[in-house]
């Protein structure tokens, strides 16, 4: 059991730190897009590179942020019934949901995007526009990467639910409390 909680804590920490890094890309996205606007209207110059940079930042944020959002329970739920469930019933929903929905989805995305992405790597696919960022293959790699990240955080959620179902609420509760402390400290 200790291994399970340690593993899910490790995975949580990984998602948390990616999230913290990704959060800084948003002000960057804002500044870069503003710079594009300023150059276009102020200097009457367009920079394909910078326009595409905004796109890369944006895509990285929402694709890789998915796991962090899962960890923060930020993916919206229809909680009309869910919120009235006991912690045990909620754990059932999360354990089964992860097993039946999330894992197959991630697996399938990795599987089906494999050729798509590996071909882009093979030809080192570049931007279609002159002056664009020559790394479309990296942009495409975000698709399987998102799935891997989500699956890892999904594993953490699954293990946590499992621990609850097996009756280890105490340890989990401590983990949650520590987590909340962390959040309050951040606020």
């Amino acid at each position: 059991m200790r291994i399970i909680t340690a593993l899910s804590a490790r995975l949580d920490a990984y998602s948390e730190s990616t999230g913290r890094l990704l959060a800084w890309l948003l002000p960057l996205l804002m500044l870069n897009t503003c710079a594009v606007v300023f150059m276009r209207y102020g200097l009457e110059q367009g920079s394909t590179f910078m326009q595409e940079l905004s796109l890369y930042l944006h895509a990285t944020v929402f694709m890789l942020g998915a796991a962090y959002t899962l960890k923060r329970d930020g993916h919206v739920r229809v909680d009309i019934l869910y919120r009235q469930f006991s912690p045990r019933a909620q754990a059932w929903v999360n354990a089964l949901g992860t097993l039946i929905f999330l894992f197959p989805l991630c697996g399938y995305i990795i599987l089906i995007s494999w050729d798509f992405v590996s071909y882009a790597w093979l030809i080192r696919e570049s931007s279609g526009e002159p002056g664009g960022i020559p790394a479309v293959f990296l942009l495409k790699t975000l698709i399987p990467l998102m799935a891997v990240n989500l699956a890892l955080q999904g594993l953490a959620e699954f293990l946590r639910s499992l621990a609850t179902l097996l009756g280890y609420q105490a340890e989990v509760a401590v983990g949650v409390a520590a987590d909340n402390d962390g959040q309050e400290g951040a606020l």
Binding site: A23, L26, T33, Y41, A59, T69, G97, L142
Partner: protein, 457 residues
């Protein structure tokens, strides 16, 4: 039997969603299960799913949707730097001496600032935390206070620039292209997010005016339900302008530059977010730490939105693969009653779906399915978009399942009974239905302004 599978899939997903697993993964996961069973049984052609990487990459490459994180960032910055709070405070001090003055302030501030976030839950919760305690303390009837807050909180999604309209505009523009392709139109027209913003302007303002009129009327007839402030406190006009002008200017600039076509929504959103950051900085409310927190909140909401988009993409691929498009189309064709009936049926369906699905899910799941069909029947895309938006807003207000009611219940004190909330929103629901009726009778209210601006360009 197999041709009914799309409807079965839809019903299954509704049941699954009620269990409470995150919507994005429930949508995709249920669709994957149906596809898996179908492939084994030979009902489903797996090649339909091979379009998935291209679809996902299309989402990554979509420049219009880049406005989403930027508008969210702008909203989060305005909220965290207490600009909304200060605005409400000043306004209510100015208007608080009149009966109903606080209610009027809540509506105005909500309409102005809620626009930038445009996510029902977030807006209702913010407005609830911000204004409910004050309203109750000043002796407002709980039903009046909660009704006003719920209604104002949902107003944000139809007043531009709201991210709900960005998402809807993007989806409708794809649907419109498909519809015209199907009709083999020679010179296909386009509809943009900017068009939708413009179309929403007049109906949105009309709704605000109706809310205000109702509040003033109620304050006049039943002053005890929304008493005036007893202790009068002079508000210097200078301090009023200082707190009112910057955020209003910011919103007007962002909106204005989109409306006159000087900037794309994405560009305007970036400049708006920068403006909000500078505003917060000027008020001494922006530290590195707060900037990071705003980034984290924005990251969370953005990923949430896009995961639903991806989940809905998987769902609609499987739905199409099972011939769902043809099924819906033939259902409409066999129904009779023409365009009017079709629109009515879609509106009722969306209203009911609004009980379990949020704006984003409906935009990504339902609109791509029914949109092309309705648009191919000759329905105006802007009008349709605004009707959907107001319809959903009404749905979110309607007891017992409305989203807004749940969110407000979550932040309201125990002393406010759920019955009060239900009673409070009732008049606003009537106003919403009235607005839907008006817009159905006079579609020009939504379509005239975008058409006029277009003729100017």
């Amino acid at each position: 039997m197999v041709e009914w599978i799309p409807l079965l899939m839809f019903a299954a997903v509704c049941v699954v969603l009620l269990l409470g697993y995150p919507v994005a993964f429930s949508l995709a996961g249920t669709a994957m299960l149906f596809a898996g069973v179908g492939i084994i049984a030979g009902w489903f052609d797996p090649s339909y799913l091979s379009a998935l990487p291209t679809r996902l990459f299309g989402t990554i490459n979509n420049v219009t949707l880049m406005a989403v994180p930027l508008f969210i960032l702008m909203g989060v910055l305005l909220e965290r730097s207490r600009i909304a709070e200060e605005l409400l405070d000043t306004m209510s001090r100015l208007l608080g001496r009149l009966p109903g003055g606080l209610g009027v302030s809540v509506i105005l501030v909500g309409a102005l600032l809620a626009a930038s976030t445009g996510i029902v839950g977030a807006t209702v919760v913010t407005m609830g935390l911000l204004s409910l305690p004050t309203m109750l303390k000043r002796g407002y009837q709980p039903s009046v206070a909660t009704g006003t807050i719920c209604a104002t909180g949902t107003l944000g999604q139809i007043i531009p620039p709201s991210i709900a309209l960005v998402l809807l505009g993007d989806t409708l523009s794809t649907a419109y292209q498909q519809a015209q392709l199907q009709m083999q139109v020679q010179n296909p027209e386009t509809v943009s997010v900017g068009d939708l913003f413009m179309g929403a302007l007049v109906p949105g303002v009309l709704l605000v005016v109706m809310y205000l009129l109702y509040t003033v009327l109620l304050a006049w007839r039943k002053p005890e339900s929304m008493p005036a402030l007893v202790e009068t406190e002079e508000v210097a006009i200078g301090s009023l302008l200082k707190s009112l002008l910057p955020p209003v200017l910011l919103i007007v600039t962002v909106l204005g530059s989109i409306l006159i076509g000087a900037a794309t929504p994405t560009e305007a959103a970036a400049v708006g977010a920068l403006g909000a950051a500078l505003l917060a900085k000027a008020k001494g409310q922006l530290s590195w730490r707060r900037l990071r927190e705003c980034g984290e909140s924005t990251l969370e909401v953005t990923s949430m939105v896009f995961m639903i988009l991806i989940g809905a993409a998987v769902f609609s691929l499987v739905f199409r693969g099972y011939g769902g498009d043809d099924l819906i189309q033939s259902l409409f064709a066999n129904m009779g009653g023409g365009v009017g009936m079709a629109v009515l049926v879609v509106m009722v369906a969306i209203f009911l779906l609004g009980f379990i699905l949020d704006f984003i899910e409906i935009t990504f799941v339902v609109v791509p399915i029914v949109g092309p069909i309705l648009l191919a029947m000759g329905v105006d895309p802007i009008w349709l978009g605004i009707m959907i938006a107001i319809n959903l807003q009404t749905s979110f207000l309607t007891p017992p399942f409305g989203f807004a009611l749940f969110y407000l219940r979550g932040v309201a004190p125990e002393s406010v009974r759920t019955r009060d909330i239900y009673r409070g929103v009732a008049p606003f629901i009537v106003l919403q239905l009235l607005m839907l009726g008006i817009l159905a009778l006079w579609p020009d209210l939504a379509t005239a302004l975008p058409g006029w601006v277009r003729s100017l360009r």
